[in-house]
């Protein structure tokens, strides 16, 4: 009998796919444009090296390899001009062991560029120390050590685990994933919520009364509706990710399947949140008015629009802790950007599942208590 409900829901879905298509499309378009996954939007950062060796050193190589920012070498005057006439938001003066940021416009990028440069210098120091430790003095020896180091890195005998999950100074800003995950997780809230809302409408119209009088069980009605909403939401993100994986060519750092699996807790928690929200609403109009407010606030404080790492307000940070989207982003970025294992992500996963259970329990309880 649950199958009957699911079939009816699927028929209804196929007859009115417009909203689904719109939300899927918006996620893709926003992620493409803002995420710059098609390469039209890497941010240009002018740099000037005070000491020429910097450009050829490890630091120079490192900066050229990052694909979020395009560092271009130029003279000091050129750089200052670009910043003053607004061609670039931020630039940097690089010395051998130190750097200076020249900030034109304070933005997300200032912190990110700073972060990237700091990484480059830190790694450079580590490298120098290793070379010194290896006792390499002459140029040839240095080359050899470097080569060995590189091949060792390519096939490590052991890996050092970084357990500093979300420690403030080790965050990687990957614009592509930030936007892809951010917009996917944001827009899917709408799809899921709009698929849960019919529970309220069907209750008002008396369709639920009809089902209650029939032999079908109450729990079957909820399960069928919620399972359906879950799959509608999951399907949306799946389509988006498939498009990015196989059409745009984002490789999810080789962890595409894990990403798909670890999407489940988030989608589940949003289904639960939606039923909770629905249970508090008087009618569909109120729901329609409130949903965007909730979804957008969740996106803003949950790090869907910009990385949560740049949020400083204590209040917002506290709020982000009760926001499933925060953990959804944490899990997906944890997998695809940081390369964490599932065990390392157990905390945010458990929080999502817990939130899901709590919201669903409350939601169904309130839904049952209300008249209509």
């Amino acid at each position: 009998m649950m199958i009957g409900i699911l079939q009816a829901k699927c028929k209804l879905f196929l007859r009115n796919p417009l909203l689904f298509v719109i939300f899927t499309g918006m996620s893709i378009v926003f992620a493409l444009i803002i995420g710059g996954a098609i390469g039209m939007n890497t941010i240009h950062v002018p740099v000037y090296a005070e000491n020429e060796t910097v450009q050829d050193s490890f630091i120079g190589e490192y900066l050229e390899e990052t694909d979020v920012y395009q560092f271009s070498w130029m003279t000091k005057d050129e750089m200052l001009e670009e910043i003053s006439n607004g061609k670039a938001e931020v630039g940097a003066v690089l010395q051998e062991f130190d750097y200076q940021l020249i900030v034109g416009v304070e933005s997300v990028n200032t912190a990110m560029v700073d972060q990237t440069l700091r990484d480059a210098y830190m790694r450079n120091i580590q490298l120098e120390q290793m070379i010194t430790a290896a006792g390499a003095d002459t140029g040839r020896e240095r080359e050899n050590v470097l080569e060995e180091l590189q091949s060792a890195m390519a096939s490590p005998v052991f890996t050092i685990e970084t357990t500093s999950f979300r420690s403030s100074d080790s965050f990687i800003y990957d614009n592509t994933f930030q936007s892809l995950f951010g917009f996917s997780l944001f827009f899917v809230i709408y799809t899921i919520a709009y698929n849960v809302l019919p529970i309220l409408i069907e209750k008002k119209d008396g369709i639920w009364d009809r089902m209650i009088l029939s032999p079908i069980k109450k729990w079957e009605m909820y399960v069928a509706n919620l399972v359906y909403s879950f799959f509608a939401g999951y399907l949306q993100v799946l389509i988006i990710f498939l498009i990015f994986r196989f059409w745009v060519g984002v490789d999810f750092n080789g962890r595409f399947l894990e990403t798909l699996v670890l999407l489940i807790p988030y989608v589940f928690s949003i289904v639960a949140l939606s039923i909770f929200l629905t249970s508090l609403m008087k009618n569909a109009e109120q729901f329609n008015a409130i949903l965007p407010i909730i979804a957008v606030s969740m996106a803003m404080i949950g790090g869907a629009y910009w990385p949560i790492e740049i949020v400083e307000s204590e209040i917002l940070l506290a709020l982000s802790k009760i926001n499933p989207l925060t953990y959804g982003m944490e899990v997906l970025q944890g997998v695809a950007v940081y390369g964490y294992s599932i065990e390392e992500l157990l905390l945010p996963i458990s929080i999502l599942l817990l939130m899901g259970v709590v919201f669903m329990g409350l939601g169904i309880h309130l839904m049952e208590k209300r008249h209509v």
Binding site: M1, G4, K11, R15, D209, M211, L213
Partner: protein, 310 residues
């Protein structure tokens, strides 16, 4: 067979249903009349085990429905006041869906759907999406869905609101036929007197949560047998006229509307001449004077001092 015992329902401060007692016997068509907000739907929801009463009990074959709703649910068919259908599915798909949740399948389901479609006269529109239906067709399907599992008791909450006369007649005839052919017991809620007069054997009248009258059609009309109603019409009234009417010792009650006044007087009184005199004294020109035989509408007026429909 089905009984409401001292049934009450309170929504926060609002006493929607107050101490209502009713019974329905097998094979009857019982009418439940009342104006908007009378508490009809609330009473019906409690009766069909969808709403838990604040006080009182519903008994089906002498067993409490509140404690054990299943035996009643198995035999009950409910036509809700709203159109409880999936508007984006076709008529047939709706029937299929609701048939399935009643565990019908395969050929049995197909046959049943054909039969119901035939009974509600929608066979040639079966493949059309409900959204494209007229109000009357939706109402008919709304009833059809409740017939799929051959219920013994059909509970209908204003099944004819806002539809064209043809569809309305069709529905009334269908109800009557089901009652005749299948001995289906029917509780029919309405605020249309004519429907109830046409269909029902017995009638309950509710107002503001109270049951204010009950009995067979004749019994109810006999409430008025001691009185008659005189209906007078004029383009305008004045206070002198109305006051003198009210002060006339033979007049029981005066109900004033814009262009009509209904005067209730004891049956044996002939107040025609005194009425004309009062009108002359007050300077009122009467357009017509009518003596009405009592209708259910008058009973309602008598009982509540208000018209059934606003």
């Amino acid at each position: 067979m089905l009984e409401l015992v001292d049934l009450s329902k309170k929504f926060k401060q609002n006493n929607a249903v107050k101490n209502v007692n009713m019974f329905i016997e097998k094979g009857e068509i019982v009418g439940l009349l009342g104006p908007n907000g009378a508490g009809k739907s609330t009473a019906i929801s409690m009766l069909s085990s969808l709403v838990i009463p604040t006080k009182g009990d519903v008994r089906f074959n002498n067993k409490s429905v509140i404690k054990h709703p299943e035996p009643l649910r198995r035999v009950i068919g409910m036509v809700p006041q709203e159109i409880a259908l999936y508007e984006d599915l076709t008529a047939e798909e709706n029937l299929k869906f609701f048939g399935r949740i009643y565990k019908l399948k395969g050929n049995a389901l197909k046959k049943k759907i054909d039969e119901v479609l035939d009974q509600i006269g929608l066979t040639d529109r079966r493949k059309d999406i409900v959204k494209t239906f007229s109000g009357g067709m939706k109402r008919r399907l709304n009833i059809g869905v409740a017939m799929l599992h051959d219920p013994e008791i059909m509970i209908m909450d204003e099944p004819t609101v806002g539809i064209d006369p043809q569809s309305r007649n069709y529905i009334l005839e269908t109800v009557k036929r089901l009652n005749h052919e299948k001995q289906m017991t029917v509780l029919y809620t309405s605020h249309y007197m004519e429907e109830v007069e046409f269909l029902c054997d017995r009638i309950y009248i509710m107002d503001q949560g109270n049951l204010i009258a009950s009995g067979t059609k004749d019994e109810i009309k006999r409430i008025l047998s001691a009185e008659k109603a005189i209906l007078i019409k004029s383009n305008r009234w004045n206070d002198t006229f109305i006051t003198s009417l009210k002060q006339d010792p033979t007049v029981n009650r005066v109900i004033v509307e814009e262009k009509e006044i209904t005067i209730m007087v004891p049956k044996e009184i002939n107040m025609f001449s005194s009425l004309i005199r009062i009108a002359e004294d007050a300077g009122i020109e009467l357009n017509s004077v009518d003596i009405k035989t009592p209708t259910l509408e008058d009973v309602f007026l008598h009982l509540t001092g208000r018209a059934l429909r606003d």
